[in-house]
């Protein structure tokens, strides 16, 4: 009898609570906007996911402190996919089933983005990916609900070839890593070469975990190449630089945007001097002229990130920073209507972000041009803006 009485009391109390909540003013107006996030916060790609999550939380924290968007606070639901396609899919399904979720930011990697977008497309949920692969948003007519903020390989290659053309280097040797990043880079390097009057005279690959590239470089030394283009991430590209120095190869070494970090300079040591690479403007924002509209954005982001997380800012965090700021702008105008949010994102013009100036259109859901990259040279352990 006693338990029944307690149960009855509980039920009454719950119903009462529910009524109180229902009666709580104009609930619709101040209901929070739910925004999802999927990042590789742990696992091998945590160097991407962690700054992305931090940047997202930083911006949303500021927005909420100022009273939210049109009075609606933003509620974040962030998941960690650990760089794993299956987990990304699972989290995407959870977010897609949440009727209140208005948009998703992430994932961090190309392959996790590709699986996530299948689900968000079906659910008609706007997705702003932070990954590089151009296939994420192309062709845009099949990717109606997908946008991305990271620069693509294609732009990096265009930028490198423009630079080589300017410096009158016509014959190049390419050395690419055998992972997805390297394969995609190689494809672009080969397919765009002829447009810029550049001839690829030798092509070699190396493994992500290889520890000695002297055989490949010895082979390249025998070719007529006037420059070496290396496409990789992690420690291997630093070894390429070291091995080139060992072999006494003095032609310029061009690296990809995959190594545009202080860590690379540290790993390459002396061998890093003179390396040329395309990089996002955040890397050298202090050297940008004041007339560059991106300077202020980069400065604000770098300083805020430093202050909040006591860690150096990174271009990766910048992808999420751009994504969430874009989304906030869309939410301000469109409210909680997914369809309108999508149209707002697609119509975004002259949006000044960390990664470049975005001009979205129904044909282009990335909205960046090769100008999003600058060419930098490593000099005395620092990146120096050269073009």
């Amino acid at each position: 009898m006693k338990t029944k009485a307690i149960l009855g009391g509980l039920i009454l109390a719950l119903v009462g609570l529910g009524l109180i909540f229902l009666g709580c003013g104009d609930a619709k107006k101040t209901a929070p906007y739910v925004v999802g996030g999927i990042f590789s916060i742990s696992g091998p790609a945590s160097y991407l996911g962690e700054p992305e999550r931090n940047s997202l939380e930083m911006v949303i924290g500021e927005v909420n402190a100022k009273g939210g968007i049109n009075g609606h606070p933003i509620k974040l639901t962030i998941y960690d996919d650990e760089g794993d396609v299956t987990k990304a899919r699972l989290h995407a399904t959870k977010l897609a089933q949440d009727k209140n979720c208005l948009a998703v930011i992430g994932p961090s990697l190309t392959h996790t983005s590709m699986t996530t977008l299948e689900i968000t497309q079906k659910a008609k949920l706007p997705l702003i990916s932070c990954a590089a692969g151009s296939a994420i948003t192309a062709p845009a007519k099949d990717r109606v609900w997908v946008f991305k903020t990271a620069q693509t390989d294609k732009m990096a290659v265009e930028r490198i070839y423009q630079y080589l053309q300017k410096t009158n280097l016509k014959q190049v040797a390419i050395l690419t890593v055998s992972t997805g990043f390297g394969v995609a880079g190689k494809e672009q390097l080969l397919s765009q070469a002829s447009q810029y009057g550049i001839q690829v005279v030798a092509q070699e690959v190396f493994g992500e975990k290889d520890t000695d590239m002297t055989p490949q470089l010895t082979k390249l030394r025998g070719s007529t190449a006037q420059a070496v283009i290396c496409w990789g991430t992690g420690p291997a590209p630093a070894l390429v630089a070291k091995n080139m120095k060992q072999l006494g190869i003095t032609i310029p070494l061009v690296q990809s945007h995959g190594v545009a970090s202080k860590k690379f300079i540290e790993l390459a040591g002396d061998a890093g001097d003179g390396i040329i690479l395309p990089a996002g403007k955040l890397v050298i924002w202090q050297q940008l002229p004041d007339t560059d509209p991106q300077k202020a954005v980069c400065k604000e982001y770098a300083e805020k990130y430093h202050a909040k997380f006591k860690a150096p800012e990174s271009s990766f965090g910048g992808y999420a920073y751009d994504a969430v700021r874009m989304l906030n702008q869309a939410l301000t105008k469109a409210g909680n209507n997914r369809d309108k949010i999508r149209s707002e994102l697609e119509g975004l013009k002259n949006f000044v972000g960390i990664s470049g100036i975005f001009n979205m259109s129904p044909e282009d859901h990335n909205g960046l041009s090769p100008a999003a990259f600058v060419m930098v040279k490593i000099e005395k352990g620092e990146f120096k803006l050269i073009d």
Binding site: G207, A238, L239, K245, Q246, L267, D270
Partner: protein, 289 residues
């Protein structure tokens, strides 16, 4: 002459890598001799050696100290690993122990990831970075260090096994554990010693290549596999075989990269392993068992 210049460079690259594989293969061989198991955590000892040396160097920038300190630390890890993971096993069949070493490798790698993170670290070369010109090819002082220290280690090991009482006792255990026990050799102690010794060798290999390849928490797996292949190619349990296997493997890889295609580098290594297993399963040097 046209082909000679690159050939020499490939040989230098191949011999340096081969020497490292040889050191790792020796570690496999020593433990195999004492216990007839394959210690798959051997590659992780290489990684630990490199990362410990880098960390010690960071605190006290002295290379000899970093070298010695890292070898001692990793030797302790090897001893503790044997004591905690392998000795308590109730039914020590070789297959059970081998599986435990695989688990140990995963654990060590995981712990290393927690301690050092996923980033790579650099260790300065032992004596400068200026390449030495050797005819048409160039060689780094560090390559000479690798070759030299490997040669010294091999000779010292050989002397240890042939000339000292402990070394002879270890060999006795390898030939026939029961007979060795009967004449009063503490076989358990010998097993432990073999783990310590091979951990030290692995650590040495790791420190030697750290200036060339950088140190990162997941470098051990592939090196361990290559070292294992080298041990099999040469003949498990034979010192000379391990060295020969390592050098053959390293040179074959470099030549394959240079003359065929860099994409086939790892394929060549494992193809060589398969060939040896098909045609001469006891290894190049190993006798018939």
């Amino acid at each position: 002459m046209e082909n000679f210049a690159p050939l020499l460079q490939y040989l230098i690259s191949g011999l340096t890598n081969g020497a490292i594989y040889a050191l790792i293969a020796l570690g496999f061989g020593i433990i195999y001799n004492a216990t007839t198991i394959i210690n798959f955590a051997q590659g992780e000892m290489v990684m630990l050696g490199a990362l410990c040396a880098i960390s010690i160097y960071h605190v006290a920038p002295s290379l000899p100290l970093a070298f010695a300190g890292a070898v001692v630390l990793v030797t302790c890890v090897g001893l503790v690993f044997e004591r905690l993971a392998l000795r308590p096993v109730k039914d020590p069949t070789p297959i059970a122990l081998i599986i435990i070493t695989v688990g140990g490798a995963v654990l060590i790698k995981g712990v290393a990831m927690l301690i050092w993170g996923k980033e790579a670290y650099a260790l300065p070369p032992f004596s400068g970075n200026d390449p030495i010109h050797l005819g048409p090819a160039t060689i780094l002082p560090q390559n000479l260090w690798v070759l030299g220290i490997t040669a010294i280690s091999v000779l010292a090991l050989e002397a240890f096994f042939r000339l000292t009482l402990v070394g002879k006792a270890m060999r006795a255990c390898a030939y026939n554990t029961r007979a060795a026990r009967l004449v009063g050799i503490a076989a358990g102690r010998m097993v432990q010693l073999s783990f310590g010794l091979s951990a030290a060798l692995g650590a040495g290999a790791g420190i030697l290549i750290a200036p060339l390849t950088l140190g990162v928490y997941d470098m051990g797996t592939m090196l361990g596999l290559k070292g294992f292949s080298a041990a099999i190619i040469g003949g498990l349990g034979s010192l000379a075989g391990g060295v020969l296997g390592g050098l053959v493997l390293g040179v074959a890889e470099a030549l394959a990269t240079g003359f065929i295609s860099s994409g086939y580098r790892d394929a060549v290594a494992f193809l060589l392993l398969l060939l040896v297993l098909f045609l001469r399963p006891q290894g190049l040097v190993g006798g018939r068992k």
